[in-house]
Symmetry: C3
Subunit: 269 residues, 3 copies
């Protein structure tokens, strides 16, 4: 079965199960993350008080840790939630927003990656490079420019260094679990004119992680955002109308849509 | 005068007075709560610093306490604001988001209900059941499934146990002040695909509470959201476009709309 | 060269440079501020952890300090960010939301104005009056009603009292740096039915401040919001659809739009 079929079947399971996805996320895009999670068919909870965050993460079907507006108390909450999730085998998806951008973020991301069993890490190339360099203690040997050509070799190398499934978004998207690797080609430039499309992709990956393995979850989340983006772009006059049509398009995705519209540029296992 | 007429007249007073509605609310849906409040014709303020929250709540025409992203400091701010509001007879509307879902939330909701003179409590059936059990020390004797058939008896019973006006939203909405009770039938399934439609309903009830008694405020707020939802659903292709048309439809509500479109399923006094 | 031409040229530079605009802002409208910044052509960052806020503000091309949901920790972060910005000559734009409304806000705004070299202050008339009275220790001699007729003399007087560039928004908008002054007439009543249009204007001014002097930045930001508001109003049925079309219209602004659509009511230098 190819990755597009796997994505379609994961969507079917997602909409049957309507899994609970707990988020500890940033205050810029928190509303969009909740609405994207609802639109794909899952059910979001999004709070982080120390007294309840472990209870909520342990009872959820997957957990999002998004470092957008990182604060000391959000790092604490993420560790607490991550440990509760790990005890119950709840998949954890990390979005290391801005890792490499400031020392504080780099350290925060490395701390979470060191202490928690992450199921998927979703970020752009420079965030991934920063994590890989910090985790392995060696230069990941990948040019740091986000815009350079993405290859199967690069994404697989990063997955192996990080010892988890990586989902790298950019002009070309890439997913690898160190064994299976894929390059994906859906998307539209309008996705870069709405804040939070990366965060929403992370929430989609977590939604799929509640009903499938890490590789399929990462592929399905990225395909969903890319295909919905293309649909929304056709209906929009700018990033405002695009923003809404994007949510509509996620809601309208169907099992067959991945087979019809998904663009696999390269695949290796 | 029936409840639909009362709602229409309340809307008229609301748009004339443009009352100030102070919110202590969650960070997921805070923007939607502000925009729903503006659309219905009131004026929102939404901040919670200890040094000013009492000043703002005391000067407002009504107060929303929404427990969405509850934190220790928001509970403190809610008590402070609630006490200042109570001193000036400013109506207080509580949205006990997630009460019963975690121990922390149940205790927070019960603490607020015990210490503040709440004008209206707006929640779903399980949140109300949790509050009623905790307040009365006895099992409220209502089956806890949200989806079971709502009746006049159930909502009146909960209002009497909680000694205030209750507004219960679900497949059928219900309001009671322990004497007058009503079941309302407007709405659309799309309301469950946008985060914050419950929170917005609470903000609408608080807006109406600034210009009418608790029962009429609760009925008017629920009718406004249900009718606007139906209008928006007719114009939408999914939850993204629905989200916007919902705000438009609240703005376009008129005195007569309640009489034309409101659905009273049962009424008792 | 007139102010409309200057605005058009500033937009051209803005879209070429795509400057980084760091925000410390409120949680009500933070998503809109990010999306307005992206739509006009700049790149927003929006976080405030003490450990990184100086690093981010010092590396940005301009800094927004928006007092919306003011907290003790946001004031600290604003001072820290402002000092880092000042050391690197990064322009600072203050939005003193609610100054004059509570003692806490008045003191916060005065503290920031006293300690930081503000490039532009953007607010409504009563916020400006409050700041001017507090800064100069004398009554600014301007009637405090927001709705009274705005004049060149009033805005110039306030700019001189505050010793910076002021951007006053209201039924008529006004900008002065104490030497050049202008009254601007674009806009639509729908702008008052969406929360955060003032905040977004501040973010636009900061975006322009990264590529032009304070006076041109303030004029360009206000013109952009007013003209985009007029475009959006023509396409909208209410504040929900208006909200989106507003972002679209900011994205669609072109160099010539200011000359074609900008309304200069009065100008003096």
């Amino acid at each position: 079965m190819n990755v597009l079929q796997e994505a379609g079947e994961a969507l079917q399971r997602l909409r049957q199960k309507r899994p609970l996805v707990h988020h500890i996320t940033n205050v810029v895009t928190i509303n969009d993350c909740a609405n994207a999670t609802l639109a794909i068919g899952a059910s979001p909870t999004m709070t982080w008080a120390p007294a309840e965050v472990g209870e909520l993460a342990g009872a959820a079907s997957s957990l999002v840790l998004n470092m957008g507006t990182l604060q000391p108390w959000t790092i604490d909450a993420m560790e607490r939630a991550g440990k509760a999730a790990a005890e119950k085998d709840v998949p954890i998806v990390l979005d290391p927003v801005g890792a490499g951008g400031t020392t504080y973020r780099t350290q925060g991301a490395l701390q979470l990656a060191a202490r928690l069993p992450l199921t998927v890490i979703r970020g752009n190339m420079s965030e991934m490079m920063c994590l890989a360099a910090g985790r392995s203690g060696i230069n990941p040997g990948v040019d740091s420019h986000d815009r350079e050509v993405m290859t199967i070799e690069k994404v697989r190398h990063l997955a192996r260094l990080l010892k988890t499934t990586v989902a790298i978004t950019g002009p070309v998207d890439a997913v690898s679990d160190g064994r299976r690797s894929v390059l994906l080609g859906n998307g539209t430039p309008l996705l870069t004119y709405v804040t939070g499309t990366g965060c929403m992709t992370t929430s989609l990956i977590a939604s799929f992680a509640a009903v499938s393995g890490p590789f399929t979850a990462a592929v399905s989340g990225i395909l969903s955002m890319g295909i919905a983006g293309e649909t929304a772009a056709r209906l929009s006059q700018g990033p405002g109308t695009f923003h809404l049509h994007l949510i509509d398009a996620l809601y309208q995705l169907q099992t067959e849509t991945y087979l019809t519209c998904g663009k696999v540029l390269n695949y290796d296992e």
